[in-house]
Amino acid sequence: MKKLLFLILIFLSPFLFSFDLNFNYNYSYFYFYKINYFSSHDLVIDVENSNDFLKFFAQFDVRIYQGDSKYEIPYPDIDFSIIGVMPTYIYLSNQYKFTQLYLSLFNEGMNLKIGKFPVKSSFSEIYSPLDIFYFSSPFDLITLKEFPSNFLFSFSKKDITLSFVYQDNQDFFSSKEGLNLEYLNQFFNSRFFISRYSQVRKNLLSIDSIENYLFGLSLLTEHFGPALWNEVLILRSNGINKFNLQFGWDYTFFEKFYINQEFYINFRGLKTPYSDINIINKYLNKDFLIGRYYMFLTSVFKVKEKINISLNSILNLDDRSLIGVFNLSYNPINNLLSSISVVKTFGESKDEFYRIPAVFLFQIGTKF
């Protein structure tokens, strides 16, 4: 499929005479308190061309790291090197990648999209298990995000939209497919989502492939003032149903203070305290959240026209550990944005968000 896509793009490129070109440059400086520091230059180039039935979009990302880019800080009381799970540090290398690259063929009511592009199925802002096609942690400020290859067919009739997504992963068994039905309604916008995908699960003794079926129902309304939403999700694997529930609200107070709060309950999540095996399995499978009860918070305070303060956090309500990003951004002139962020965790040595040294990030960027 990737080769076919490439051939189509090569064939079409001579016909794409004029296009919009945007550049976004960012310089970032990372400082891990009393450990190390490094910097990166990041240039993102967007190319877009479209007419009444065809759109081509490419996003190319060049990221050059300078300095000592070791940053992984493992759980302090678990020796991963003995079991060979994780190296002590991960070295970042310079990257040149198409992070998005797709062709979209459409008429008024239908759309066929092929290539690398993001697909999101949930209403939630920070995390939802419904987002099986792509998920990146909002707290990962370092890694370059690259979207996987998808095939999407979408069809709308008035307020109803039906979409089919197929994600082309490297082997057939880890490919994913999903069907999304959305109904726009002034009282309750609703989405029904069904999908099938296989997942490789590892533990210290074996590797297994598990087939999952996922059923989700999301509702979103702003009929009562603040926006309210909830998601109910059932993940069926090996004949066992796993229930997840999410609900949230958001509102802007006095046109200055925005707050978005979500609660997430994973009824099959692990109980605290987490064992060493639980933590090792989390690393082996790259699980994002392993507990049962969580609270997500996003808040933005507009201090002045060009100064914003924001706070994003995840609180594990079982072990009461927390990860947070505090950000102060200043936009001195148009096309120039500067910001300072601090990432900090609060927790004990075997909590989900165990204590790590604070990470400071300074960014300055421009786009044109």
Partner: protein, 239 residues
Amino acid sequence: MAKKIIFLLSSIFSILLFSYDKDYILERVEKNLSVKNVIYRASMKIEDDENTRDMELLLYIKDEKNVYVEVISSSDGNRSRFLKKDNSMWLYLTSAGRSVLIKGHMLKEGFMGSSLSYEDISENRRLRDVYDINVIEDEKYYILEMKAKVEDAPYKFKKSYIRKDIFLPYKEEIYSSSNRLLKEFYIEDYEKIKDVYFPKKVVMKDLLQKKNITTVEYKEINLKDKLSDNYFTKTYLER
């Protein structure tokens, strides 16, 4: 005596002939301001005390419940698409591959940093559906004093100075609930198409900021018999 009768009769006739009743005036104004099935191509210029930004817009307006707005290019590289369905407005984020609901409380914020709000850009309801209107007449204008009668009205109170020849506002004054003048809106040019007077160049001034002036020029106005429902769908927005 005959002269007096003729004068009296002619005065009565002139009142009947040349002074319109409130409903007639409002109908004519609404005919110009709440046009259905129309496609606009427009340029928007946003000036503040530091710099100037330009953007090109495409607007599809089917009726008061179905509006589609696309920023097709802008000098700062920001492109975006908006869909208004009923009272909800969706914004498509290309980088995230998703559309998000612009919640009711955020609709009053500036559209792409301009002094026009998201509501100003997408509002197409009849004035009488949104405001209680009192009409006053002076030598030059019909002055409409509009008080919000529905909760989701864009403004609590505004005053509109309607030109008597074309039934388009020359100027609008927008006030806060405490009667403070917040914004001024001017229609500087217009074009007549099929008995409808379309604003051709409009200027919005945000008086709470030192200098924040937004000018919209409608370069192409394409009045259709019917606009397809398919433009006002999630599929078209997220294409």
